[in-house]
């Protein structure tokens, strides 16, 4: 029988042991249905999810809800939108109780006196040109001023096909302001012309992501195995899709055979009652989904499948470490 220690040397075994008992149990929460941007390709608005539920406005109910979530075993709250920072009281209901991550466009600065160590993920969709085309304004100019040097913030850089050959310039700018960056790929939910991935572009972007990791190892939080998975949709001998995705809301997950999945994962709408199908748009075709968190989780829940060789298990460790860093379970 292959054991972990038989596959890893001492260094890698120590890295494994650092993460093996973390037992992260995340769920995702829509904090509000509103946003102060309307980005072309935003899954939340393009799929009508902002109209699925009416926001719960009583903050006391948010506090009670978070208590129930903790009773359910959740130990990581991932707050998404609309734009969570429009509702700081609701964010506080989570932050006061459990490890909390807030995804934001960064236009409103999270007050650090109120949320001193909350991890903030700043969405970025490319250079000035792409940002203006897709989001109506160059957000980097504002977010870099708001968060320069913040040890609890990083950029979630959504790479588009138009960014090929240009990612280095952006990552250099991020490094210059002392922040980290994690790369993911646009899924182009609204079919904006020129922003859908062609097979040859996915090959090129994988090489470019690898090159960025090599060139900026202290700034880029990533792994080459993650780049491989997200650009090919292939892991070991399996193909990503509905029957493989780990990030499906547990309450509605009737899949048979039951795939390896995130334990107790639910994505809640902002009425605190409605649930969404998964971590991203319900209207998205799972076979072309490029969601970074779903692909990371796909690797993470399939640990033993990666125990077939030393290289496979090391790949698994690197992806798990990446996730653990992005959500502050281990240091950068």
């Amino acid at each position: 029988m292959k054991t972990v220690s038989s596959l890893l040397d001492e260094h890698w075994y120590e890295r494994y042991k650092q993460i093996s008992k973390l037992n992260i149990r995340s769920s995702i929460y829509d904090v509000t249905d509103r946003c102060n941007l309307r980005c072309k390709g935003c899954f939340f608005f393009s799929s009508g999810e902002h109209e699925r539920a009416s926001e719960e406005n009583d903050v006391n109910k948010w506090h009670a809800f978070v208590d129930k979530e903790m009773d359910r075993g959740v130990n990581l709250a991932i707050l998404i939108g609309g734009e969570p920072t429009l509702c700081l009281d609701r964010i506080e209901a989570f932050y006061k109780r459990l490890p909390t991550f807030c995804a934001t466009n960064g236009l409103i600065k999270v007050p650090r006196d109120r949320f001193p160590d909350m991890m903030v993920g700043l969405s970025l969709w490319g250079d000035e040109e792409d940002e203006k085309a897709l989001r109506g304004k160059d957000t980097f100019k504002i977010t870099s001023a708001n968060y320069a040097g913040d040890p609890h913030a990083y950029y979630l850089y959504t790479i588009t096909p138009k960014q090929l050959g240009k990612t280095g310039k952006i990552i250099q700018k991020i490094e210059d302001i002392g922040l980290k960056v994690h790369m993911q790929l646009l899924s182009n939910d609204e079919d904006v012309a020129g922003f859908s991935w062609k097979p040859e572009e996915l090959i090129d972007v994988r090489a470019e992501m690898d090159a960025m990791l090599d060139a900026y190892p202290k700034t880029v939080i990533s792994s080459k195995y993650y780049h491989q998975i997200i650009t090919t949709g292939q892991m070991l001998d399996r193909t990503f899709g509905w029957m493989e995705c780990p990030s499906v809301t547990e309450l509605i997950d009737k899949r048979e055979p039951r795939p390896k999945r995130l334990t107790n994962f639910i994505r809640w709408a902002s009425d605190l009652k409605t649930v969404h199908r998964c971590c991203t748009s319900e209207t998205r075709d799972c076979s072309t989904c490029k969601d970074g968190a779903a692909h990371m989780s796909w690797v993470m829940v399939n640990k033993r499948a990666h125990m077939r060789s030393t290289e496979d298990l090391q790949n698994w460790i690197e992806v798990y470490e990446m996730f653990a860093k992005l959500y502050q379970f281990i240091p950068w």
């Binding site: 029988m1 054991t3 972990v4 042991k17 037992n23 075993g73 334990t263 829940v301 640990k303 033993r304």
Partner: protein, 88 residues
């Protein structure tokens, strides 16, 4: 019901081997003191699956809060035998 611990160990090892589809090991050769997380690579979903089988096999409920403590086959066997003795 007083169950011999060695019998319980063999049966739990058999369940784990079957559920996790482990290769090159038998219930008799499975080291009962091997750390299931650190060495076998068991995760929380595996433990939940194993707990369901054990529940059906032994008629006991394994509290989810107890999962982190159940780190080896021997510890699981002792846990089950204690539960069975408590139920007598």
């Amino acid at each position: 019901m007083n169950v011999d611990i060695s019998q319980t160990i063999i049966r739990i090892a058999e369940i784990i081997i079957n559920e996790l589809k482990l290769e090159d090991v038998t219930p008799q050769t499975f080291d009962p003191d091997l750390d299931l997380v650190d060495e076998v690579g068991v995760d929380s979903m595996d433990l939940a699956t194993i707990a369901l089988v054990l529940r059906d096999e032994y008629g006991i409920r394994i509290d989810e809060d107890d999962y982190p403590k159940l780190t080896t086959v021997r510890i699981i066997a002792e846990y089950i035998n204690t539960k069975l003795a408590d139920d007598e």
